[in-house]
């Protein structure tokens, strides 16, 4: 079969009138697009992934990048993507890998939900002038309190509380492992979350020694490969998260290509250098919900019941019932990762076709837990496709306690969502372990960007709450009355338990 070269995905143009041959594009491109040839810069557009590193560093704005310079004969069924996937697979005979989140144009539920604001009958609250509380506690809460109230007015608390994580904003950074992203990227995030008073996940990559100073803001992950897990690791985390599944690839384990396993990653993960780190699809000690319970309790026992244990699952059709099982397992929080969740590497077919949106999953999980009277047993953390503060407000209205962001935090550090993370060539120094690339990311500078992003969202969230006449985030949580669906079908409105606009 002869397929020939498939049409270019991107075309890179250099405006010769603007170009001063400084060569910054040549130095910055890690994909080999540019080459200096005498007094010209030659371009190989085929290598371009549109990461924009070149144009971002071109001092003259001389570089333009165009998507899809060659048209296919248009066809509503046989789209360009469909045809190219076939070309690719016909050549390789393999599973096609892809990066970042779901790339099919499913409707985005967040964008069909609108928030409420007060007018006349109740005043909106101005966060510049009145207290506005975003503080959130993650973990198990008692469903009732036992108090000893004496005649002299003193009140004694009899109920013992389980350990909770205290966060000053309901926004955390999700699990992106050292290996998937660079140590500099992890360090930038760690600095940001520790300054803000929130948390980040280590991912399934262990905890590098240089991050120990930030350990009280770290949630350490135990995934099916058990990479990097020992008692030292567990004890350093503020909380422990068992990863069952991930929104980008429900039903699969992790896959870190060998190219990204440098010496330091190998040491932190406790695996051989250069080997593919493939974590199994299921945990080989969890074949049922009661096995999960044993692992939750073993981890608690190992850390003297001092740390909350979270369980992360991919949002799938039966999430609500699964979450109800998790809530009964002694776990303190359940993380629901929607099908838009990002990843360093996932089979394209899983990334695009398996799982459900986080909005619907969180709504049904919250409803199920309330129906069974066990909502206080676990916090709900939503992740996968949280793009802005409005998404945070909406998912909290649908029942989440807090969110994890991933891609958004990477974009704050320069990521252009080119989706080529699995190649380990990230020109921004984020999804790579090559020293010449990782050194491009200055953790101090980028930590400010991540901090700014979370801070900005937090301010916006406070304003949105104030406009809705709410001064404490617990009154937004599960408050679906403050949402309306715009052009959502009746079935989905029922699942979300949200009325339509105008109703």
């Amino acid at each position: 079969m002869t397929i020939g070269s498939i049409p270019l995905r991107f075309k890179v143009d250099i405006d010769p009138d603007q170009c001063m041959l400084c060569g910054r594009c040549v130095d910055n491109c890690s994909y080999g697009v540019f080459r200096k040839d005498g007094d010209a810069i030659r371009v190989n557009s085929r290598n371009c992934v549109a990461c924009h590193r070149c144009s971002a560093f071109c001092p003259r704005d001389a570089i333009s990048i165009y998507e899809k310079p060659t048209d296919y004969r248009s066809h509503p069924v046989w789209t360009r993507e469909v045809r190219e996937n076939i070309f690719n697979q016909a050549k390789t005979g393999k599973i096609v890998l892809a990066g970042m989140g779901n790339a099919l144009p499913y409707p985005i539920i967040f964008d069909r939900l609108v928030l409420d604001a007060c007018q006349v009958t109740n005043p909106s609250i101005d966060p510049l002038r009145e207290p506005m509380e975003l503080r959130t506690y993650l973990g198990k809460k008692p469903s009732s309190l036992s108090l000893k109230e004496s005649a002299d007015g003193t009140v004694e608390l009899i109920t013992k509380l389980s350990p909770n994580l205290q966060i000053e904003t309901p926004i955390m950074v999700g699990h992106m492992s050292y290996g998937a992203i660079s140590l500099n990227a992890q360090t930038a995030i760690a600095k940001a979350v520790s300054r803000i008073g929130t948390f980040m996940g280590t991912g399934e990559g262990g905890l590098h020694e240089s991050l120990y100073p930030y350990q009280k803001n770290m949630i350490v992950q135990v995934a099916s490969g058990r990479f990097g897990v020992d008692i030292n690791y567990l004890e350093r985390g503020a909380a422990i998260e068992i990863k069952i599944g991930q929104g980008a690839k429900p039903g699969l384990g992790g896959h870190l290509p060998g190219e990204k396993i440098c010496a330091d990653v190998s040491y932190t993960r406790m695996i051989p250098e250069g080997s593919d780190a493939i974590s199994p699809a299921p945990h080989h000690d969890i074949y049922s919900i009661e096995d999960l319970k044993q692992l939750v309790r073993s981890l608690k026992e190992a850390t003297e019941w001092k740390k909350p244990v979270f369980v992360k699952i991919a949002a799938v059709h039966n999430s609500a019932a699964i979450a109800a099982g998790i809530a009964r397992s002694s776990a303190d929080a359940v993380v629901i990762d929607g099908f838009r969740g990002g990843t360093g590497a996932a089979p394209r077919v899983f990334r695009d076709h398996v799982g459900i949106p986080v909005e619907a999953a969180v709504a049904s999980v919250d409803a199920k837990l309330r129906q069974q009277g066990i909502r206080n047993k676990v916090s709900i953390i939503a992740s996968g496709g949280i793009r802005e503060s409005a998404d945070v407000a909406k998912i909290i209205c649908l029942g989440a306690d807090a969110v994890y962001i991933g891609t958004s935090a990477l974009v704050a550090m320069g990521c252009r969502v080119c989706g080529t993370c699995y190649r380990g060539q990230c020109a921004w120094g984020i999804a790579t372990q090559k020293p010449e690339l990782t050194k491009r990311l200055d953790p101090d500078v980028e930590s400010v960007h991540v901090e700014n992003l979370i801070h900005g969202w937090t301010l916006e969230l406070a304003e949105l709450m104030g406009a809705a006449g709410i001064n404490s985030i617990e009154s937004l949580r599960g408050n679906r009355d403050r949402l309306r669906g715009y052009m959502l079908d009746e079935g989905l409105l029922n699942v979300l338990d949200v009325k339509t606009v105008g109703a």
Binding site: T121, K141, S144, N479, R482
Partner: protein, 350 residues
């Protein structure tokens, strides 16, 4: 808007219904003539051991038999009668108010620690959710709610509220935005011995409703106020908290204040906020809530609605307006304005 007033006599001496009518009418500026109501405690001494169920029937012939059958199934009706009303030019009598004195059969709720109350709660929730032309709007012992769509004076005259003698009263002058003209939407709201009057809007209603419904309560009145009655029933009757601690859960201190408290107090307040975060009430409100022994007034955490208290002799008054209190008791002492979120509690001592 809306105007509220409550009074309690701590030695259970009777207060005349005529006075509360006058006081409530002082606040007509806060109402719109589309809803008013009263609750009086101590009005049925001869039936004080029975649950007094006040019911709005849409139609006696069609709707009453079903309710009678249901009540007989769950217990005994010792007496029932139409609540006497007197025609008023400004009130359209769209319902027939009825009262039952009812005793539940405890053996039908074997696992409950408060079987009588649980049976009555179950019946109230069931009947009101079914919407079969009967609405139970009052279900406590030795107390009764009287309400309708109209101005306070007209509603009072409709029931001849001056004929009732109570040691504890709540009354409400309504400016509706949600369900104007609906008798069920007028305050007070009642469940068992709890009655609530409320001025304001609860912006956390969606959260509060989902929370309370997970404990088997059903919100059926299309208004935010009823959750207050159910929440206080849950926290005080079922969870055993004092009224003071329940109000702490509804309008808790801010974290920045909690952070500055001594460790033990900090721990207590954090526990309340963690356990009862979904019971926290947000938005502008002033609320009076009562049971047979207690009158509690409180506002939201930043006091976006007015609340004034006054004392005279054995009586504690709580109202939206000082003028209303002075109408009842011109020589009132200790007029005060409670701080945001801080409850004012009056109790009977005999």
């Amino acid at each position: 808007m809306c105007g509220i007033i409550g009074v309690i006599d701590k030695r259970r001496q009777s207060v005349d219904g005529a006075k509360i009518k006058e006081a409530l009418s002082m606040m007509n500026e806060r109402g719109s003539g589309e809803g008013a109501g009263y609750v009086a405690y101590g009005i049925y001494p001869e039936y004080k051991d029975y649950f007094a169920l006040h019911v709005f029937f849409d139609n006696i012939r069609e709707n009453k038999a079903a309710l009678d059958t249901l009540l007989e199934k769950w217990g005994t009706i010792v007496h029932d009668e139409q609540i006497k009303t007197y025609e008023q030019p400004n009130i359209r009598k769209v319902h027939t108010p009825w009262r039952y004195f009812f005793r539940p059969d405890r053996s039908l709720m074997p696992k409950s620690t408060t079987p009588d109350e649980d049976i009555v709660t179950h019946l109230v929730m069931k009947i009101n959710a079914e919407k079969n032309g009967a609405l139970i709007f009052s279900s406590g012992k030795n107390l009764g709610v009287f309400k309708a769509a109209g101005w306070p004076e007209d509603v009072a005259d409709f029931y001849r509220i001056q004929d009732y003698q109570g040691y504890l009263w709540l009354a409400h002058n309504r400016y509706p935005t949600n369900t104007p003209g609906w008798w069920g939407g007028a305050h007070p709201f009642n469940l068992l011995n709890w009655s609530v009057v409320h001025n304001g809007e609860i912006t956390s209603y969606g959260t509060n409703r989902r929370y309370i419904e997970s404990y088997g309560y059903k919100c059926t009145m299309f208004t935010d106020t009823e959750v207050v009655a159910y929440l206080i029933d849950l926290l005080v009757r079922k969870h055993g908290l004092s009224e003071k601690m329940a109000v702490r859960a509804f309008a808790p201190p801010f974290w920045e204040d909690i952070d500055r408290m001594p460790p033990k107090e900090q721990e207590l307040n954090r526990a309340i906020r963690l356990a009862y975060g979904s019971a926290l009430m947000n938005g502008p409100f002033a609320i009076c809530v009562a049971n047979e022994n207690t009158l509690v007034g409180f506002t939201d955490r930043i006091k976006l609605r007015p609340l004034v208290t006054g004392e005279y002799g054995d009586r504690l008054y709580i109202s939206s307006e000082e003028a209303a209190i002075r109408r009842m008791e011109p020589d009132v002492d200790n007029i005060a304005m409670p701080k945001a979120g801080e409850p004012v509690i009056g109790r009977v001592i005999s």
